[in-house]
């Protein structure tokens, strides 16, 4: 149970800057997801934390104790930071129990810690198996148990679910989350899957081009994204040009929409999530034509074109009225919209 703090962390590879000054706090006992597209530097961040890479600048502290930076580099094996790599990387010559016991002292290996963590990840009684006798999902569970066993300060998970198929992934994700919580471990999960980050993490840190662009709870990051890029990266986004009027209202092509912030009057860009866009008829609705209808089972995304040519997306739950392509419908916005200052490129983005 430890708090990790990174200040101004920089890492370069020749001319390429992988981390361009990362400031980040990982709260004790929680799971923090580092979310970003491929090549944003998230794996480098993890390797710097683990001690596999040296920092070019900046510092890393654990509970106030410096472990890297200013000429200091605590070697990986003294940091008490355990990693769970993408492919598990179980030691192929050791049994499951020996893999899990690898980081334990002689005395602890004879105790019941091995069975305890194996139970946590749902593999009680499989200690005698060899890694090649396990399925991919089971191997990942062993890798997590192995990392938890020595009660490290921090557990680093490097896209540990990406090699598994979708059905297995959701279940394993949940179980690993529960295992970390039951053990009171501090975790950092690196991922490019925003669904994964939002669903399992206590905190989400969005990384882009080697910098932190936003950090907060999953709800905050989804509802109040720091900018239009984050808005589009963490979920489907409808971005519309608007003019803020007095009294917390913005005038848009979808009618007048309440805005949360006391935004200064003038031209802005607003963010509306597709689930806020409602279909219906009656007063106050704006006419639109249905362009496409992508059915997902539990819900559907409906692509719409307004009379002035603006395109918006609505998410409707299954069981609502069916809307055939080409139909004329009415559209309203429910709830408040998020406001971004208008930039040159943000006139019309629909993700």
């Amino acid at each position: 149970m430890s708090e990790v703090a990174l200040t101004g962390v920089v890492r370069r590879y020749g001319a390429v800057t992988a981390l361009a000054g990362v400031d980040l706090t990982v709260p004790s006992g929680l799971l923090t997801a580092v979310l970003g597209p491929s090549g944003c530097g998230k794996t480098t961040l993890l390797r710097c934390l683990a001690g596999f890479e040296r920092l070019d600048d900046g510092e890393i502290h654990i509970d106030g104790v410096p472990i890297a930076g200013s000429g200091r580099h605590l070697p990986a094996h003294r940091r008490r930071i355990a990693v769970v790599p993408q492919e598990g990387a179980l030691f192929p010559h050791l049994s499951v129990a020996d893999n899990v016991g690898y980081g334990l002292g002689r005395a602890a290996r004879r105790g019941d810690r091995i069975e305890e963590v194996l139970t946590l990840v749902g593999l009680a009684g499989l200690g005698h198996r060899m890694p090649h006798q396990l399925s991919g999902g089971q191997q990942q569970r062993v890798a997590v148990a192995r990392a938890l066993a020595p009660r490290p300060s921090v557990v680093l998970l490097d896209e540990p679910f990406s090699a598994l198929d979708a059905g297995l992934r959701a279940g394993l994700r949940h179980d690993v989350r529960e295992a970390l919580r039951a053990d009171g471990a501090t975790g950092v999960l690196v991922t490019h899957d925003q669904g994964e980050a939002l669903s399992v993490a206590d905190r989400v840190v969005v990384l882009r081009a080697g910098r932190v662009v936003q950090a907060g709870t999953p709800t905050a990051v989804y509802r109040e994204p720091a900018d239009e890029w984050v808005a589009g990266f963490v979920g489907d986004a409808v971005l519309l040009p608007a003019v803020v009027l007095d009294g917390g209202t913005a005038r848009t092509c979808l009618g007048d929409v309440p805005v949360a912030d006391s935004a200064p009057a003038g031209p802005v860009t607003i963010l509306v999530r597709p689930e806020q866009v409602r279909l219906g008829t009656g007063p106050g609705t704006v006419a639109a034509t249905v362009l496409r209808h992508d059915f997902h089972g539990h819900d559907a995304l409906v692509g719409l074109r307004l009379a002035d040519g603006t395109r918006v997306t609505a998410r409707i739950l299954d069981g609502g009225p069916t809307v055939p392509v080409g139909a004329e419908v009415g559209v309203t916005v429910e709830g408040t919209a998020r406001v971004f200052p208008t930039t040159a490129t943000s006139t019309l983005i629909s993700v």
């Binding site: 683990a50 001690g51 596999f52 070697p75 990986a76 094996h77 003294r78 940091r79 008490r80 930071i81 355990a82 990693v83 790599p85 492919e87 990387a89 030691f91 192929p92 010559h93 690898y102 980081g103 890798a143 192995r146 990392a147 020595p150 490290p152 680093l156």
Partner: protein
């Protein structure tokens, strides 16, 4: 550190080549030209190249045909034939030549040599082509059929192209092998470069002549090696693009199955049956000679110590290079790796010759000791060992060691508990391979062995050259037994023994 040790290894490996170049240059340009522009050299070159061409063509035909029958048709007993087709690797060419000669007295010349070399070296084509045919994506053939091509059109337009890199690589290997072969051509009295070099040096004491001939042979070898590298590079483009491996549908042979069966049986009889029969017939005579067993024991002991010291030196040099190639592959390591292979392709007779001169003039304390012979083995077998070490090193990827360190284990503990347990078996297998290969090496041993030290291979050679076939038989039998082990290793790793039609 690793880099320095690797460079040292490459320098040692290239020692014979460098020394050969120096000595040839020393002889003076005029002298070299005099030696070179003779009818004899032209004839030697023609005969060597013709032999290489004939044997390669025959091996490609035999190797591809066998591989196709074994992997893609419903031939009766195909797994049995797959193993039979790999087994000739266990018969060193000089033993095959000896076996044929002892059955048909007076057998000599170009065509017998071509026959023996073909029977010994077609596995070099068969093994990679069979692997390629097994690994090739059957979906490509299915697509071709679905686009309206007939079975035969598909075979020529898709299948043959899929196995082209493997065929080319195998064929070039055969050509290199024939050019460097000394035993078979000498026993069957076919004048090629290797035999001429040996005769010029050993009987005529014509050093300059031997050196010039050796240089020409090196030039031919380098030419072939360049071609081999080119096909290898091109082969990368034929790599599979993911997907699930599925066994291809097998061709029904129908009425042709028994002629095909008979043909494969015939080839196996010639390649394996003749040596086996001949050895079996002579062995009883050879063993019952008075004192025979004691002589064999002495020679075996010599082979053992010579090969052991050779294997030790080779592994010492191969360890840093193999680790470097596996762990930090970059342009420099590729160059180092290629240079080692260049030395490997050099005929043993050339290596032996240049190390003799090196021993006499530069390192006299080494001359007439088994260490100079060990150096020759190191030069010849370094690529084998480097390949084994590099392969073993990939068993313990860096990611595994990082995990171990993140669990709180120091570098030395990680080395002891993770890296070594994973890497050592592969390195051990490599060392055993080098050791067994050294046991059957003939030309360099013949040239470099300390006077009075006879090994199994040289005893066989001496007995054969005076027509004492019965006396030679025990040595030949022992050598075949020794060669069988690495061959078995190769066959079992090639996947030919796997249960077929899986997945």
């Amino acid at each position: 550190m690793l880099l320095a040790a690797s460079t040292a290894a490459v320098v040692v490996a290239l020692l014979p080549l460098t020394y050969l170049a120096l000595r040839t240059a020393e002889a003076g340009w005029d002298r070299v030209v005099d030696e070179l522009w003779t009818e004899r050299v032209a004839l030697l070159a023609l005969r060597s190249l013709a032999l290489a061409a004939v044997v390669t063509a025959a091996c490609v035909l035999l190797g591809v045909g066998t591989a196709f029958l074994v992997t893609r048709t419903e031939l009766p007993g195909r797994r049995f034939f797959a193993v039979l087709a790999a087994l000739p690797l266990a018969v060193p060419t000089y033993i095959a030549a000896f076996a044929w000669l002892s059955e048909i007295r007076g057998l000599a010349g170009f065509w017998p040599a071509a026959l023996v070399l073909t029977l010994c070296s077609y596995p070099y084509v068969f093994l990679p082509v069979a692997a390629a045919l097994r690994g090739a994506d059957p979906a490509q053939e299915e697509v071709s059929r679905s686009l309206g091509r007939s079975g035969w059109q598909t075979f020529t337009a898709v299948t043959l192209r899929q196995i082209r890199p493997a065929t080319a690589a195998g064929g070039l290997l055969v050509a290199l092998y024939v050019l460097s072969d000394f035993g078979a051509v000498s026993i069957l009295r076919t004048d090629t470069f290797t035999r001429a070099i040996f005769v010029a040096f050993d009987l005529g004491f014509d050093r300059t002549g031997a050196l010039v001939l050796a240089s020409v042979l090196v030039a031919l070898t380098v030419l072939l090696l360049t071609a081999e590298t080119t096909t290898r590079r091109r082969g990368a483009r034929y790599a599979r693009l993911g997907g699930i491996r599925r066994p291809p549908a097998r061709l029904r042979l129908g009425a042709a199955r028994w002629p095909a069966f008979a043909a494969l049986l015939g080839v196996a009889a010639l390649a394996l049956g003749v040596p086996a029969l001949s050895l079996a017939r002579r062995l009883a005579d050879g063993v019952s000679r008075p004192g025979a067993l004691a002589e064999v024991a002495v020679a075996a002991g010599n082979s053992l110590t010579v090969s052991l010291s050779g294997a030790a030196l080779t592994m010492l040099l191969a360890l840093p290079l193999g680790l470097l190639v596996a762990r930090a592959p970059n342009a420099l390591t590729t160059v180092l790796d290629r240079l080692v292979y260049l030395a490997h392709a050099l005929p043993g007779v050339v290596i032996g010759l240049s190390l003799i001169f090196f021993g006499i003039t530069v390192a006299y304390p080494l001359y007439q000791t088994r260490w100079l012979l060990a150096l020759a083995y190191a030069t010849l077998f370094l690529p084998l060992a480097v390949g084994a070490v590099a392969g073993a090193a990939t068993q313990s990827p860096p990611g595994l060691e990082e995990v171990a360190r993140s669990l709180g284990r120091g570098p030395l503990t990680v080395l002891r508990t993770v890296t070594l347990p994973l890497v050592l078996p592969g390195i051990g297998a490599g060392a055993a391979l080098v050791f067994l290969t050294g046991m059957k090496e003939l030309p360099a041993t013949l040239l470099l062995r300390p006077t009075g030290t006879d090994t199994l291979a040289t005893e066989l050679w001496t007995a054969t050259s005076v027509g004492a076939y019965a006396a030679a038989a025990p040595y030949a039998a022992l050598l075949v037994a020794i060669s069988a082990l690495p061959t078995w290793l190769l066959v079992s790793r090639s996947g030919l023994l796997d249960k077929e039609d899986r997945g």
